[in-house]
């Protein structure tokens, strides 16, 4: 296949002129944008662009299509719904100019999906977003917009990702009183995987995200919620498993802009075998955040002396009328618990596995479908080679 330039690539599947122009600017300036030490390993060499086929159909299930739900290829959506995409794609939650990785992502974006729930749509069944994007591509994007009073649960699962480096960015925008749950099981196979989930919440909106970082390689997970509307609520949950020299960085942030907003971050991780996991959690309450609530709890369990963990809870508060707190711990397996299990004949390795499961279970149990829960527990058992 012939290699294309960015504009040739964009034009080959009929992207609107504004998007082509934006991509070209992004490609010109990304080198001059900031790039942190943490982000550096996740830079990729520019991927070769070859023409992709774009499906212009609305792929939503029939009963949702009738309610006006749109689930389609992002590039097709850019032609069909130019205003929605132009206003929201990498503008509100993951601004493309923020850093070099974001700008490159936009410049070299090769697969994506657009999910739109019109106002008052209520989806009872969880919607699986896994098959809406091409997992073998390097730069992947999901743009989810939920209108006022919309309610839905989404699930996502990686499959067949590239062996080198890749990136998935997810943007979730919630209208007034929208309620969304997003369950994400990270199974990326790449050596360096970068994943971003940022969200914007309008009045009374609620967002719960759960992510399981069970992949076997280096991972950078960034997530930031902007609680903009009054009384919006964000719950950000991360479970991680770090083994066999892998490095994981988790940056989780909730910003309370609006009055009476409520944010909670929960992170739990296991590290073993020279692995290293860092949890950086950030609660920001701005000047207008009267009556805001901000809480974060990060716990890391280190299974042997070769593993490392760092928990870094930060609260930045610019208002006096708030409730905020944080809890953090990094520690070994509880010796009394281990002894109790051993005293029942359970060998050390299995006892540690049981305790590890027990440590993660409260968050894994929150996942809505049995298959995802089982997959995560299987993965934990499969990768657990601690003696």
């Amino acid at each position: 296949m012939t290699e294309l330039t960015i504009s040739e690539f964009a034009k080959s599947h009929g992207e609107p002129a504004w998007l082509v122009a934006k991509r070209e600017v992004a490609s010109d300036i990304y080198c001059s944008l900031p790039l942190s030490a943490q982000q550096r390993p996740y830079q990729m060499t520019n991927p070769k662009l070859t023409a992709v086929t774009v499906n212009n159909d609305n792929l939503a299930p029939q009963h949702l299509k009738q309610q006006g739900v749109i689930m389609m290829d992002l590039f097709a959506a850019a032609q069909e719904y130019p205003t929605l995409i132009q206003e929201n794609l990498m503008e509100k939650t993951i601004p493309w100019r923020d850093n070099a990785l974001n700008a490159r992502h936009l410049a070299y974006l090769t697969t994506g999906a657009f999910i739109f729930l019109p106002s008052n749509t209520i989806c009872n069944e969880p919607i699986n977003l896994t098959n809406f994007i091409d997992h073998t591509q390097l730069e992947k994007h999901l743009l989810i917009i939920a209108g006022a009073n919309a309610e839905a649960t989404f699930t996502f699962n990686d499959c067949g990702t590239t062996p080198k480096k890749d990136c998935l960015m997810v943007e979730v925008l919630l209208g007034d009183n929208a309620h969304i749950k997003y369950f994400d099981e990270n199974n990326a196979k790449s050596e360096y995987h970068h994943r971003v989930l940022n969200a914007y919440l309008a009045r009374n909106a609620t967002l719960h995200t759960f992510v399981g970082l069970f992949n076997a390689h280096n991972t950078l997970y960034d997530s930031s919620f902007s609680l903009d509307g009054e009384q919006s609520e964000g719950y950000l949950n991360v479970v991680s498993l770090g083994m066999n020299t892998q490095q994981q960085n988790v940056n989780a942030e909730i910003i309370n802009h609006g009055r009476n907003t409520h944010g909670e971050i929960q992170a739990r991780g296991i590290v073993a075998e020279r692995a290293k996991t860092n949890f950086h959690t950030n609660g920001v309450i701005t000047k207008n955040g009267y009556g805001a609530y901000s809480d974060q709890a990060s716990r890391l369990l280190t299974l042997d002396s070769t593993s490392q963990g760092q928990v870094d809870p930060i609260l930045l508060i610019d208002n006096y009328d708030v409730v905020a707190g944080h809890a953090a711990s990094v520690g070994k397996v509880n010796a009394d618990q281990l002894y109790y299990l051993n005293s029942r004949g359970i060998p050390l390795r299995q006892a540690k596995l049981l305790l590890t499961r027990g440590f993660l279970l409260p968050l894994i149990d929150a996942f809505p479908n049995e298959q995802m829960r089982k997959q995560m527990l299987d993965k934990l058992e499969g990768r657990f080679n601690v003696r």
Binding site: Y339, N342, S343, R344, I346, A351, L355, R357, G358
Partner: protein, 257 residues
């Protein structure tokens, strides 16, 4: 058979000797009781048999069915058939009670002899019935939020499921009301047989009204100072440890004197 010869044990943390030349033999099929004032090393003895890691044997030997326990880890000792019902059972959130008991039952048996899930659940509910335990118990996290009595019952439930050859019951009767004490005793009595022996550590003779012991030992200052039948326990209840000490002519200071 459990055979302890001239055992000396110290607390690793402060190097203090707690057990000072203890001899004890429990043949198969017998139930022995150890009574003694606070701070004489009764719990230390049970934790040393199980190898808790807080104590170190400085002299002597613990032998179970011909095997010297010295080099064996806690789980290896348990798999030989020794069970310790703890004085303060540990709470472990995240592990369901039934899952834990199943893991313990399976750990004691080769793969071919492990019960199926159904068989396990049936024998579990039978044992729970004997102990008067509510059904929701199995789905609760291990000992988490259990009352004192519930924890003790749970220890006995585990014993009944694991079916050890030797059960050491460390103050299984403390903190139990009369009904619970009867239930727990019933559980112990179901285990009686030629291949089951037990060492009951207690402060009071009340549990002996329901569980008839073969031998009663009195422990003071890290040693067994008297052994006898159930009448020994009764005389203790009347006269107290100080009287027995004076009768034996021992020069020991009791902790609570």
């Amino acid at each position: 058979m459990l055979k302890i010869t001239d055992l000396h044990v110290k607390i690793i943390e402060n190097n203090q000797e707690v057990i000072k030349g203890l001899n004890l033999e429990i043949p198969d099929g017998e139930i022995h009781v150890i009574m003694g004032p606070n701070g004489t090393g009764k719990s230390t003895l049970s934790q040393t048999i199980m190898n808790s890691g807080k104590y170190e044997i400085t002299h002597g030997q613990i032998n179970f069915n011909g095997t010297d326990l010295a080099k064996l880890s806690t789980d290896e000792r348990a798999r030989l058939g020794i069970f310790l019902a703890m004085q303060y059972p540990t709470e472990i959130p995240g592990i369901k009670n039934a899952d834990f008991i199943r893991a313990a039952v399976n750990a004691m048996r080769p793969k071919s002899a492990q019960p199926t899930v159904l068989e396990f659940m049936q024998s579990l509910s039978k044992a729970m019935d004997i102990l008067d335990i509510k059904l929701d118990y199995t789905d609760r996290y291990l000992n988490e939020g259990f009352s004192g009595g519930e924890k003790k019952r749970n220890e006995i439930l585990q014993m009944m499921m694991v079916k050890p050859q030797l059960a050491i019951l460390d103050e299984i009767d403390s903190g139990l009301d009369i009904d619970a004490l009867k239930v727990v005793s019933k559980g112990i009595n179901t285990m009686r047989g030629n291949h089951f022996s037990s060492l009951i550590i207690t402060h009071y003779d009340r549990i002996l009204r329901y569980v008839k012991p073969d031998v009663v030992h009195v422990m003071m200052d890290g040693k067994i100072v008297a052994s006898g039948g159930i009448e020994l326990a009764k005389s203790l209840e009347q006269g107290g440890y100080a009287q027995l000490r004076d009768k034996l002519g021992l020069n020991i200071k009791l902790v609570d004197e």
